[in-house]
């Protein structure tokens, strides 16, 4: 049984699922801002991704340097099976808790 995920961790993992392979900090930030309308810093995204990696939920690899980043390399993240399971559990829990009250949640 994996540890339960925090809310921000869920958002970051969901962004990884949406973005598919090759996601990195800036794209995750952009996805969260566009989808969840939440302004977060790139460095917060990396902190969370790093923690998720230490927990074994995601894995990272370092890319090639590109000129538009001033020759800095990217760090890409992919979802691992354990991460997928944790995300599924979180989603199931949320769906379970909200079943039947979706309408009321909107008008609450």
């Amino acid at each position: 049984m994996a540890q339960p995920l925090g809310e921000f961790e869920q958002m970051v993992l969901l962004a990884l699922v949406r973005l598919g392979p090759g996601a990195y900090g800036a794209t995750v930030r952009r996805e969260i801002q566009m989808r969840a309308r939440r302004e977060v810093s790139i460095s917060a995204v990396y902190t969370t991704l790093e923690r998720l990696e230490q927990k074994g939920l995601v894995r990272s690899r370092i890319g090639e340097p590109t000129p538009e980043r001033g020759g800095r390399r990217r760090r890409h993240f992919d979802l691992l099976p354990l991460g997928a399971r944790s995300l599924r559990e979180a989603y199931t829990a949320l769906v379970g808790m909200t079943a039947g009250i979706e309408g009321r949640l909107k008008t609450l």
Binding site: A26, R29, R69
Partner: protein, 918 residues
Amino acid sequence: MRGRLALVVIRLATPRAAREWVVGDTVEEFQRIREALGDRAARAWLRRETWRVLAGAPRHRLAVFRAARPLRPARNRGDGPVRDFIQDVRYTLRLFGRAPAFTTIAAATLALGIGANTAIFAAVNAVLFRSLPFADAHRLMLVHMTVPDRDQPGTFREGVWSYPKYRTFETTQHVFEEIAFFAGRDLDLSGSGEPQRVRGEVVTERYPAVLGITPVSGRAFSHDEVHEAGTPAAAMISHGLWIRRFGGDPGVVGRQIQVNATPYTVVGVLPPGFRGLIGNADVWVPLAAFEPSQLDEAQSHSYTIVARRRPEVSEQAAMAAVEVLGRQVDAAHARRDVGMPGWAARANSMYASRIDADIRRAALVLLGAVGFVLLIACVNLTNLLAARAMARRREVAVRVAIGAGRGRIVRQFFVEGLLLAALGAIGGLLVAAVLLGGAAMLLPDSDVFFRSAVAPGRPRIAGAAGLTRIGASMIGFDRVTVLFTAAVALLTAMLVSLLPAAQASMLRPVDVLKSGGKAVAAGGRWIDTRGVLVTVQIALALVLLTGAGLMIRSTSRLLDTGIGVDPSGLLTVRVDLPRAAYDSARGQAFHAQLLERIRALPGVEAAALGLCPPVSGGCNDTLMWFPPQAGPRHDGSDPVVGIHWITPDYLRTLGVRVLRGRNFTEHDRAEQPRVLLVNETAARRIWPGEDPVGKRVSVGQGGFHVGAEIIGVVSDVRYRAIETAPIPDVYVPLAQSYQSRMRLFVRTRLDPASLAPAVAREVRGLDPALPLSEVKTMDERVADAMWRTRVGAWMLGGFAGLALLLTAIGVFGVMAQAVTQRTAEIGIRIALGAGSRDVLALVLVRVAALTAAGIGSGTAAALGLTRFMRTLLYGVEPGDPMTFVSVAALLGLIALAAGYFPARRATRVDAMEALRAE
């Protein structure tokens, strides 16, 4: 916040391991937003991102730290200084975390103090200490002619060279391995692109070689280009101009540019950052092409020599040799039309002449003042820390009781000070960056700055003036400045932790534990160490206030000094007609048309032309002599007068009054008898007790050596500087003596600055190739003329205000603490029948005692220290009693007001409650 700074902040706030991708992503995201939403949106995003990163940084680091060590047991404690230190740091950080308000206030106070120190130091470092950006700069010397000073007989001032004298010097000297001269000029650039007025230098061929620089492309001037009239005209350009005007065109060498409507071929581009010794040059032209008439004008002095000493020749030897050479040069060139006997030469190292003495003095005074502000801030912090240490005495006592050494306790306090100072230093660097960004606004227009006024009797060195340029670009963070900040932070840490550490180490655990940790013990006098500190604080604040008061008085004295014209509603514009395109007939016609068009503009009351604007650092000088004398005598007996070319409306436009006789009219034309006006000072000095109107005189310029009749006396105008008394001046009609370089003066009922576009349109309408420059209201000119005093008053005033605020907080804090500690005593007094008046007096008398002691010692210190400001003041003495009395009164009032609040609280002490608590 600038983009680069934001990135640095993000970089520093990010754990090292993640820096590369976080910063890379930030850069990438910034570019993406800029492309999608524009520069503004991207900057706004970066700013918000930076704040988010800063706000989140501690949390993130902690999170990573925790995740990395999920289940490790607490590390066992041991000895060893490093481990102790780490423990102290952790402990202090926990304390900070528990009192975020205290930490923020303390760090912010220090950030302001340290930041202001860093900013001032960056400026001082740039102008006084940093080495000049030339190879072997210590061997560079500036060589001036020395000229007898007509204002102060018997003294000499530094002057400039003529070309023939330079040649004599160059060919006879043996102490320099490279030698060249330079002089600043205004140049009109046209041809490719908009006409543009730039600064340039007239130089000789070895000029780059002397300074040890080589063109990045192309070459320097050849011998013939400099010395042979008729050689095709060549020019070198600055790296910046090459980028801006020619888009970095690699084929720029060989291209033609128009300088003052004459074609020049670009032969070289000089390295980035080099702007000549005048500090803002963009174009370099050789003498023979630019000023061929100077090639045989031995008495036309205009150039400053810069030379590189031979390595084997000492500075003293070079100076001695130059002195001998100077007299030989003078003997070789007999004087003909200007000057007095006794010219010589003097060499100074470039370091010695890089900045004038007054600005050096001002910079050091400001550095001292800002140091005082930091000291005052330190006193406040010390008091805060000491109060906190008081509250922690029980904890400290327990630690001592169970075996902690005194050293360990003291170190704990030092670590606390160190961490606060470190926070303050980081904040201080940000504060300094902001302050330096704003510094450019305080500096005057460079054009005026070069000719800015100096104290009477100390004329600016014409050629070295550029070295005094404190361009905003010169001031910035370098290694020395950051080291300075670190050193200041360390010193601050020691200062603020000294008192709490000393208090704690003198603690006797038994006493504290017995008394239940209540803060009663340790003397409990009203005026303890902290009272003494407040006294010191008041004294320091008084010194600062006095300095600021003196500067403010100087400013108001300058404002009160009439310059002889009415500056409000007056616009000035420089209109130079290129001599190649305008002979005197065309020029006269242009001037007449221009005035006619300007007068027709709505809102214009009057318009006129004049050679030289008031308070601009000085105008043309020449000699005056009297018939039957045929020419000037050159023995110093003929009076020196300023000479001004004007149109008849000039007096009315500027607000100069005709005191006797008549003004010029339209009838005073070239074919009419020559006439001139003199000012009041001339009338008084040259014809004491007589009426000069109707007399005939000759003056040495503008064709007036043949003699002219004085037709009127007009009121004085201060042309040099506000603080310089008027000299004898004569005015001659422009219609009788054509000049190509004139200023247009426009008097208007409207805001004069709003008239500038219309004036520019009219000028362009007459000749689209004419560049306009020095478009300024007279009020701006007056402000520029007093910039140094004004900036000094602003900065010292700002520091003094800060000091006053910090001192008030200090007095308040110490008295509030004292009242709290004395609650029981006050309770007893009230129980015994003391009224609230008595209690109020009890506290306020203590405040008054501290304040009086502070003001007394501060006044003594200020009397000593303000003497260093003498040369910065105008119309007020360093020991000015008015200033001293008023600042002492102000400070006393503020201190009493700050003490009043704790005093009032003391009157509300509930006697019963206080005694029960005891």
